[in-house]
C-alpha cells in the first residue's frame, strides 16, 4: 500500500445544532493535495459538516486529526493549524476594501507564515484591479473570488469551500472553479468542496462522498459517482 499521506482524518464525527444530530458517526480522510466533494440534497447537513470541522460548531463526538495532531477546538486555532473555511454566501466585509479583507485573512495563519498580497494577485488578477474598492461594491463573482482569496491568506493546507458557485453566472462559476483547480495543481492545496453544481464538483474532485440523512451513503472516486445510478437519479434529476 502506498497511500498518500493523510492530511485530515475524521473518525466517528457526530454534530449538529441544538436538536438531534445533523450527522452521526462519519469516518473519512482527506489526503494531501486532494480535492474531495461532498454531495447531498439541500439541507442534508453539508454546510453543517464544514462548520463542525472549522470549529464554528462544537463537535459532539469524534476524533479529528490534522497531520497527525488532534484538531483544536476554536476556529482561530484550527485556522492556525492550516484549515481554512470559505463560508456559504461569501460573507466579505462590505465596508472594507479588498486589501483590508485580505489582510484580515492573513491573521488566520497564527505563527505560520501567511501569504502576501502578491501571491493573491497572481491567481486573482481581477482582485488586483479592484484592490481599492469596498467589498460591498464588488460583483457577486468578484466577492466570491475575494472570499476564496481571503481564505487562502492564512496559507492553509486544506481549504473548505461551501458552494462557491452560489449566485454566480455560469461563466463566472467556471472561472472560480478554474482558479480552484489551478491552486490545487500548482500549490498542492487540498480542498473539501460542497457544491450543488454536481457535475462541476465531480469534474474538479478526485473523490466524492454522498451525505444522506446524516450518514455517508456512498464514497467513491469522482468518475464513478458521476456515472452512479443513485447519484444520477437522486441528485442530478436526469
Amino acid at each position: 500500500m502506498n497511500e498518500p499521506t493523510q492530511l485530515l482524518t475524521v473518525r466517528g464525527l457526530t454534530g449538529g445544532y441544538g436538536g438531534p444530530s445533523v450527522f452521526q458517526d462519519l469516518d473519512f480522510d482527506i489526503a494531501e493535495g486532494e480535492i474531495v466533494a461532498v454531495l447531498g440534497s439541500n439541507g442534508a447537513g453539508k454546510s453543517t459538516l464544514l462548520r463542525a470541522l472549522s470549529g464554528a460548531l462544537p463537535v459532539r463526538e469524534g476524533q479529528l486529526s490534522f497531520r497527525g495532531k488532534p484538531i483544536a477546538r476554536t476556529t482561530s486555532r484550527i485556522t492556525a493549524q492550516g484549515i481554512a473555511h470559505v463560508p456559504e454566501g461569501r460573507r466579505v466585509f462590505s465596508g472594507m476594501t479588498v486589501v483590508e479583507n485580505l489582510l484580515i485573512g492573513q491573521t488566520g495563519a497564527g505563527k505560520r507564515t501567511a501569504l502576501v498580497l502578491d501571491d493573491v494577485w497572481h491567481y486573482f488578477p481581477r482582485l488586483f484591479e479592484r484592490r481599492a474598492s469596498l467589498g460591498g461594491m464588488l460583483s457577486g463573482g468578484e466577492q466570491q473570488m475575494l472570499a476564496l482569496a481571503r481564505g487562502l491568506m492564512s496559507k492553509p493546507a486544506l481549504l473548505m469551500i461551501d458552494e462557491p458557485s452560489l449566485g454566480l453566472s455560469p461563466i463566472m462559476a467556471d472561472t472560480v472553479f478554474e482558479i480552484v483547480d489551478r491552486l490545487n495543481r500548482e500549490t498542492g492545496l487540498a480542498v473539501l468542496l460542497v457544491e450543488q453544481r454536481i457535475e462541476s464538483a465531480l469534474n474538479l474532485a478526485s473523490r466524492g462522498f454522498v451525505l444522506d440523512r446524516g450518514a455517508f451513503t456512498l464514497s467513491a472516486p469522482a468518475a464513478q459517482l458521476m456515472s452512479n445510478d443513485e447519484v444520477i437519479s437522486k441528485y442530478m434529476g436526469v
Binding site: 439541500n42 454546510s47 458552494e163 453566472s169 455560469p170 450543488q196 453544481r197 457535475e199 446524516g214 441528485y235
Partner: protein
Amino acid sequence: MKKNNVTALEPSTWPTWTVPALSAVAVILAITFIRDPFQQTIATTIAVYLIASAGFNVMSGYAGLMSLGHAGFMAVGAYSAAIGYRDFGWSMLEGIAFAIVISGLSGVLIALPALRLHGPYLAMVTLAFGLMVLQLATNFVGFTSGPQGVSIISPELVPGIEIGTNGIFVAVLISSCLVYLITRNLVATKWGRAFRALHSNDAIASSLGINVSRTRLIVFAFSAALTGLAGALLAYSFAYVNPDMFTFHASVMILAVAMVGGLGSPIGPVVGAMVLVGLNSGVFARTDYQHYLYGIALFVVAMFAPKGLAGFSQFTRWRKGSNGASSTQDATPGAVNAEEIAKVYASSRLQDRPQHGTIVLEASDLVKHFGHIKAVNGVSLRIRAGQVHGLIGPNGAGKSTVIDMLAGAQNQDSGSVVLGGTDVSRVSSYERLKLGLARTFQTGGLYPEFTLSENVSAGQHTQLKEPFLAALLGTRKIRRRESAAARKSLQLLDALGLRDGTTRKAGSLSYGSRRLLEIARALAAAPDVLLLDEPAAGLNPKEQAVLSTILKRLTHEGMAIILVEHHMKLVAEVCDEVTVLDQGTIIAAGPPTEVLESEEVITAYVGVPKTRGISVNE
C-alpha cells in the same frame, strides 16, 4: 444588531380562557391579601412598571426600536391626568382617557421626525425626548407647578363617585392585568408579526404589504399610550406628580424591567416587574445599594439568560436538545406536491384571473444610475399571465436593480411600470403587493426568528382582516382568522416539503430550504405576478427539476413569473421568454432556445462549453 428576540408563540393545548382566568385570579388574590399600605405601595409600583415596560416592550422588544426615554411618555401621561384634575376637576376615568390620548400623541410627535431612524440614532432621539419632558416639567412652572408638582386629592372614579385609595389600588391592578392580556393578544396577530417585522430590513416588510411608516407610527403611539397610562396610574396612586418621578433613572428602570423579564415576550414585563421592582422597593428599599441592583441583575441576565427570565424556560429546553426540530433534515424534496401548491394558490386568489397571455406587468425604458454607474439603462419588459419570463445576465448586469424597480423597492430615475393596467411607477412596494405583485429576495429575505409558519403567515398580511382594536381584544373572529391563516401556511409548507413548520425557526434552515420558504411566503399572498430572485441557488439539479415543475404548474393557474436565475437548464426548461441583460442594457430577448444560443450571450454570460462541458448542462 438586528436580532429579533421575540419568543415565538407556541401552539398551546390550553383553552383560550386559561391565561385570562389565571390573571384574574392573581389580581383577586392580590386585592384580597395585600392590605398593608406599605405592601400596597410596592404592589402598585410593580403594576405601574409592568404597564410602562409593556409599553416599552412593544417598541423596543417587538419592533426592535430601542428607546431610552420612556419615562418621558410616563411623565406626559401623569401630568395629563394631574392637570386634568387640577384645572378641570376630571374624574379618574376621564383623566386616564385623556392621558392615553395625549401620551399617544406625544409618541406620534416623536415618531414623525424619527420615522427613518434606527439603532443608536433613535435611542438618542428618545433620550433627548425624555430629558426635554423633564426640563419642561421642571421649568414650565405656570403649567406644571415646577419642582413642587401637582396634587390629586381624592379624585372621583367617574363624575359623582369617589374612589378612595383602596379603589385606586384595585384599578391599578386590574389595569396591569388588562395591559398584559392585550399585549399578549396583539402578538398573536398580524399586528404582532408586523411589529416584529420592523426589526429587519424595511424592504422585506414592505414587500409583504406592510406599510412600514404607518406601522412605526402605530408602534410609537401604542407604546407611548401604554406607558402614559402607567404614568397616570402612578399619579393617582401617589396623589401627586413631580419631575423627580420621571428622571432618566426611571427610563432605565423601565428598560431594565423589560430586559430582565424578557424583551419581546408578553410575559417578560410581568416577570421583570415582579423580580426587579419587588426586590428594589421591598428588599433593598432602605439601603444605598439599589443602584447596584440593576447593574447586577442586567449583567446576570445578559450572561445567563439573554432572552430574560421569561425566555429562560425556552433556553433550558434548547439545552436539553430541542430547537424545535423533530428531524435532522429540514426538507424532504421528494415530498413536494406541485398540485397541492397550485390548489392552495388558486383557492386564495380573490380577483378574476387575467387571461393567459395578457400583459400583466409592463416596464418601459427603466433607467437607474448610481452616481456615474449606469446600473440600468433603458430596460423594457412585458410580462404575460401564464408565462415564465427569464431575466439572466452576468453578475452585476443590473438584474436585481430591475427586480427592485419592478417591485417598488427602488425608484427608477426615469421610465414607467404598469401593473395590471395601473401605472405604479411611483407607487410603493407594499401597495404593489396589494395590486398583485409579490417577490422573493436574493439573500436574507426571511425573518430568522419567526417560525416557518409565522414567516408564511406574514405573507398573508394584507388578506387578513384584523382591525387593531379587535386584535387587542383577541376576539373569537380574530382567533379564527389567525388559525385559518396558520392552516394555510402549513398547507403550503407541507406541499413544499418543509417540515416542523410551527416549531422550527427560519434561521435554522439550509440555504436551499430558505429559498423554498420564501417562495411559500410569496405564494401565500396569492399574487398575479411573482418575481423570483435566484430561487434555485443552493438547490441541486434534481431539486431544481422539482422547482421547475412547481413553476410550470403555477403558470397553468395563470400566474406570471419573472425568474432571475443562473442555472441555464432551469431557464431553458421553464421559461417561455428570456431577456438577457449586460451592463444595464438588454443584449438579447426571445424564446430561450434562440437566446441561449446567440453568440453574444454565450460570450458575455453562458461561457463556451469547455472540455469539461459543465455550463449548459447545469
